[in-house]
């Protein structure tokens, strides 16, 4: 469950955050400064606040209550996506901004058109972009507050490893908590190892 929720949230927030981050880095438009500031400010969004916002939206009396997503894995994905989306956007923005201006110029002199130029610059920033996605996934898989509030920590349904650890600690079952912590760290390490290997190959 933890893997499903974290991976789906990372994919969803990357689908929106990567192009938005690149757009904020490459294009000039009115309100850009405010948007960039907003994205960076959301880095500090507390997980419980993100959880509370999504809870309010998905609760029966909320505007999206009719979807029935509260206390379901989908609701947890929404909460985690909200939490990590600013990270993907902001760190992508930063990675793309760091690409040397002469790289852009070189691509243009070699005949790159607008879309080719944007994709080429993102390719040049790929290590930073990979880093952004890894940080986001790291935050998603280690998340407790938002998924607890929105998912309800229902055993066999919406309980993830982190919320299970907290529950075991509250129950005084420390040995199971330690075991779950080791499992979580092993999963995270294995995933980052695969991502790192992929990163080296491109």
């Amino acid at each position: 469950m933890a893997l499903f929720v974290s991976t789906t949230a990372t994919v969803l927030s990357s689908l929106v955050g990567l192009p938005l981050g690149a757009l904020l880095a490459m294009k000039s438009f009115r309100g850009k400064w405010l948007m960039k500031t907003g994205v960076y400010a959301l880095f500090a969004l507390p997980a419980v606040v993100a959880g509370l916002i999504v809870y309010s939206l998905l609760s029966r009396s909320g505007p999206f209550g009719f979807l029935g997503w509260l206390f379901t894995p989908i609701g947890m994905v929404v909460a985690e996506s909200l939490l990590i989306f600013p990270l993907v956007t902001g760190l992508t923005m930063s990675a793309v901004s760091d690409v040397d201006e002469n790289v852009r110029l070189t691509m243009k002199t070699l005949g790159a058109r607008d879309l080719q130029l944007a994709l080429g610059i993102m390719k040049e920033a790929r290590y930073g972009i990979f880093g952004a996605v890894m940080v986001a996934f790291g935050r998603a898989i280690s998340e407790v507050g938002a998924v607890w509030i929105v998912g309800g920590n229902i055993e066999g349904s919406t309980q993830v490893i982190t919320t299970a650890i907290v529950q075991r600690i509250q129950m005084g079952d420390l040995s199971t908590a330690y075991l779950l912590a080791v499992i979580l760290l092993t999963i995270a390490f294995a995933i980052f190892l695969v991502i790192r290997k992929l990163q080296e190959r491109i």
């Binding site: 790289v103 002199t109 058109r113 040049e124 790929r126």
Partner: protein
């Protein structure tokens, strides 16, 4: 054989933040010619080249490209018929092969054709066997040679060179100058080179323009411009700092 493109610029001006970089500059370069833009640092040479490469628009004046007696009006098409080689080449985060293949891939060239062209292009500048090397590990001279191969592989009809041998050692300078001459002879392309080196200009170009503070001080055959009765021009051709 590629046919060169003629360039005609008249009364071109460009200002950056209140500072006049170019003022009333005009040049005429016939198709297939080698033309030098000379002058000391900060005289507006590189600005002129960027305008000719359509990377920026002039504030005033006109730039025309002529192909077989007819003007080329489509800027987007024209941009793909010319290439600019920068003073400090930037290598993309890729292999040497990936760098040289970049422009061809943008044009949707077939991968087998790309392979043939990249190999031939690297061979021409003495870098055969470098295909798999990371471009970032090359020396300055090797990078500039790869940058030349990356430009030449596109068979541009107008080749723009911005101080393309600055800071390089004599063997690399010699190799690159030969590569430019060979490329021009085999394709008939037009070459416009910016240089603050009068000796290089005399080795490569037939005609030139001399710029100082964004204004033209002399234009014509290099031998004639050299005789311009202006102390700045005279000092420049003596190899002194202007």
């Amino acid at each position: 054989m590629t046919m060169g493109i003629g360039v005609e610029a008249s009364d071109v001006s460009k200002t950056y933040g209140g500072k006049q970089a170019l003022s009333g500059v005009g040049i005429g370069v016939k198709a297939g010619g080698i033309f030098a833009v000379l002058g000391p640092s900060g005289s507006g040479k590189s600005t002129l080249l960027r305008l000719l490469n359509l990377l920026e628009r002039p504030d005033g004046g006109e730039i025309r490209f002529v192909d077989g007696g007819k003007s080329v009006h489509d800027g987007e098409t024209m941009r793909r018929r010319m290439t600019l080689l920068l003073q400090r080449p930037v290598m993309l985060k890729n292999t040497v092969y990936g760098n040289v293949a970049y422009g061809l891939r943008l044009r949707g060239t077939d991968e087998r054709e790309i392979e043939e062209k990249v190999r031939a292009s690297l061979e021409q500048i003495g870098l055969e066997g470098f295909e798999r090397r990371r471009a970032s590990t090359l020396s300055g001279g090797e990078m500039q040679r790869v940058a030349f191969a990356r430009a030449a592989v596109l068979r541009p009809e107008l080749l723009l060179l911005d101080e393309f041998t600055a800071n390089l050692d004599p063997p690399n300078i010699k190799m690159l100058e030969k590569a430019v001459k060979d490329y021009r002879e085999s394709t008939g392309c037009t070459v416009i080179l910016v240089s603050h080196n009068p000796f290089q200009a005399q080795r490569l170009a037939e005609r030139c323009i001399f710029l100082l503070d964004g204004k033209v001080l002399g234009e014509g055959r290099i031998a004639d411009v050299k005789e311009t009765p202006d102390e700045n021009v005279q000092a420049f051709f003596r190899g002194e700092n202007v």
